[in-house]
């Protein structure tokens, strides 16, 4: 694996991520969707300098008063920064900031995604919005069971139709890869 250290700090395209707070209003009104308070950044673990980036990210999160967090590692070798925040805005800002930390260290390619968890009262329950930091696009993911490998495509398409004018969404459904067993 080659790590490219970017000299000029190329920050992530935050605008499409921040649009989530606007789309959340629509999801709330139309679906009764509530942000669960949990969101996460998922990054592929590496050695060496990567640990400094992890320390920086943790330091940032420790310093954030309104956000608590925990760090988990999964069987695929990914490190999860799982945030608990009262407000979606706070979670979006914090995830954008720690994503930038990894990007500034040159680990853009290591970032898998940002994941936001919602509960939809009017539908079958839990769904996630997954944000790819590579394409700067969101896509919905509604697992019917956490490990079962079955997803509620109908709900996903509905979420897609509801927010497609407000959020930069991934149009190619063949790229809507699930993340099974999200730890929150």
């Amino acid at each position: 694996m080659i790590f490219r250290r970017r000299a000029r700090g190329s920050r992530s395209d935050g605008t499409s991520l921040f649009a989530l707070t606007q789309a959340y209003i629509t999801l709330d009104v139309k679906l009764g969707a509530r942000f669960t308070g949990n969101a996460a950044l998922c990054v592929k673990e590496a050695a060496g300098v990567f640990n400094f980036a992890v320390d920086d990210a943790r330091g940032f999160l420790d310093a954030s008063n309104d956000i608590s967090h925990r760090v988990e590692r999964d069987k695929y070798g990914y490190i999860w920064f799982i945030l608990s925040a009262d407000m979606l805005e706070g979670a979006v800002a914090a995830l954008d900031a720690i994503a930038d930390t990894f990007i500034e260290y040159g680990f853009r390619e290591q970032i898998l995604a940002s994941v936001f968890a919602f509960n939809a009262e009017k539908r079958r329950g839990r769904f996630y919005l997954i944000y790819s930091h590579r394409s700067n696009r969101f896509y919905p993911f509604a697992p019917l069971s956490s490990a079962g490998g079955v997803r509620d495509v109908e709900s996903e398409l509905l979420i897609y139709s509801l927010v497609k004018d407000e959020l930069a969404l991934e149009h190619d459904k063949a790229k809507w890869y699930p993340i099974w067993g999200i730890p929150f």
Binding site: A113, K175, W176, I179
Partner: protein, 295 residues
């Protein structure tokens, strides 16, 4: 269990129906051309042509059932199917159509019949297998919307007009070249060729009309169930779009992409090249927008 390779054989029933009606139409054309050749006048020919089409309309359910191999089934044989139809016709205020089943793994459905009173709704065993009850209800509501909108009659009327148009052109051609050409052997063949072209163009127009009516039936069927997303997800399963939404974990795919220069998506890209169903995608898009607007 059977393996469902419906993606490749999806067009089976449609092809059989189209072949059946194409052969019928060509037979009419040959017959009418022969009559024209032996000197039967224009007015009797138009009457004959219209007569053929009306006969075809009156016998349409029998022709369709015969060419697709669909069998009328009783409530005892398919209680689940009958229950869905009963629920929907009660809500739509339609007389209950006869219910038929085709024994094939291809997921498909159709409605036919002269009018609201003597209609047939047919589904394949493959459709019942891959769809859940809610999705099946969505599909049947779509078919009932066809019956309610008298789409068979609409298409038949369109055919009558296209037949009349064909005769206008046919006689226009004779008029231009005079009756001398009837004595030449090439005359008849040329007449048939021109007739075939005219018929083909009107066939395209009729297809355009039926596509439009398809959207209408989607909308009306969705209003009947109140849940457009049910038909949308049924269409996704039938068209194979559902299979394009991956179930493989993003992290697995990421690790595959790291090892291979060609992304692990090539299978998807290939299937996209070979299965272009823009109308189905468009239908799904419209239905989901309808669903979104209902929330």
């Amino acid at each position: 269990m059977q393996k469902y390779e419906w993606k490749k054989r999806d067009i089976g029933i449609t092809m059989r129906l189209m072949l059946c009606f194409t052969v019928l139409a060509i037979l009419y054309l040959i017959f009418l051309s022969v009559l024209a050749y032996v000197g039967v006048g224009m007015i009797p020919l138009i009457f004959l042509g219209v007569f053929f089409i009306i006969m075809q309309y009156l016998l349409s359910d029998r022709i369709v059932l015969w060419s697709t191999g669909a069998k009328i089934v009783s409530e005892h044989e398919y209680p689940r199917l009958h229950a869905i139809v009963d629920r929907l016709v009660a809500r739509a205020g339609l007389p209950k159509p006869r219910v038929a089943v085709m024994h094939t793994s291809v997921p498909n459905a159709f409605a036919t019949g002269k009018g609201r009173r003597s209609s047939v709704v047919a589904v394949t065993t493959g459709l019942m297998h891959i769809l859940n009850d809610e999705e099946l209800e969505g599909v049947i509501a779509h078919e009932l919307a066809h019956i309610k909108n008298r789409d068979v009659l609409a298409i038949t009327l369109a055919s009558i007009f296209s037949t009349i148009a064909w005769y206008m052109m046919h006689y226009g051609w004779y008029g231009a070249y005079g009756y001398r050409s009837r004595d030449q052997a090439g005359g008849l063949i040329l007449a048939i060729i021109i007739a075939a072209i005219t018929w083909f163009v009107s066939f395209l127009i009729i297809r355009a009309i039926s596509r439009y009516r398809e959207y209408i039936a989607d909308r009306d069927g969705a209003l009947l169930t109140g849940r457009p997303s049910r038909l949308a997800s049924a269409l996704m399963k039938i068209s194979g779009t559902m299979n394009r939404i991956p179930s493989r974990d993003l992290r697995e795919v990421e690790s595959m992409n790291a090892f291979f220069i060609i992304p692990a998506l090539s299978g998807d890209t290939l299937s996209r090249l070979f299965s272009t169903h823009p109308p189905v995608e468009e239908r799904i898009r419209r239905l989901m927008e309808m669903e979104a607007s209902m929330h």
